[in-house]
Amino acid sequence: MTSKPVKILYFAWVREKTGKAEEVVDLPAGVKTVADLVDWLKGRGPEYAEAFARAQVIRAAIDQRHVPPQTSLAGVREIAFFPPVTGG
């Protein structure tokens, strides 16, 4: 199976810490879930390690819907990472 490029978006302080609003990455074969992706991103550099240091507070959305960390990445086109929302 060939890996498909996935668009990753970052918002609020996750965006500020990674230093980018979005990027496109090819997922390595072992990255199967949202939690796997967070672990993999943490290893990509100090800015990612810092952004995802408190992984338990980071929220994720796949294709514009909230998802829990154990969600599979199969067929994903867009995934977003952000802090708990504070609108209203």
Binding site: L9, F11, A12, R65, H66, A80, P84, V85, G87, G88
Partner: protein, 153 residues
């Protein structure tokens, strides 16, 4: 049923009129307006900026609204949420619910606010009067407020 995200201010009276004008099946209209305070947790506030996830925001608000419509007999509802830079006294969010009777309108408005606070992808950054910027932390009390709807209405 409709949702809007916009930078511009809104006029509560005009929004209610547009939503309910010409209808005679509505017996109760509830509006909630969220406004920027001049101080948060004791610290004076110069301004705040509201960031959002554009492609997700309106669809998530629409899901929250559809959930309210499934729980209460609503004739109409509206959510307007502002983004961008806001200063104390500015409107942030408007929720309008209309029903035949008041209880459904009151309850649905409270539900919409509780749910959008924990689900709609907005993030507030506050700029203090000393120029210091910080992202607002989510409150446990907002999670608790949303949780109370899980045991039915």
């Amino acid at each position: 049923m409709s949702v809007r995200v916009q930078r511009e201010d809104f006029d509560v009276g005009a929004e209610v009129k547009a939503l309910t004008g010409g209808r005679t099946d509505i017996g109760a209209v509830v509006t909630f307006t969220g406004v920027v305070r001049s101080a948060n947790e004791g610290k004076p506030l110069e301004a705040m900026t509201l960031e959002h996830y554009p492609s997700m925001t309106e669809s998530e608000l629409a899901r929250v609204e559809a959930e309210a419509a499934g729980r209460w007999p609503l004739q109409a509802s509206l959510i307007v949420h502002r983004v961008g830079r806001l200063v104390p006294g500015d409107n942030i969010v408007l929720v309008v619910t209309a029903s035949a009777h008041r209880q459904a309108a009151f309850d649905a408005a409270a539900f919409l606010m509780d749910y959008l606070k924990t689900r709609a992808p907005f993030w507030k950054k506050e700029i203090g009067s000393d120029g210091a910027e910080h992202w607002v932390d989510a409150r446990d009390s907002d999670e608790t407020a949303a949780e109370r709807w899980k045991d039915g209405t």
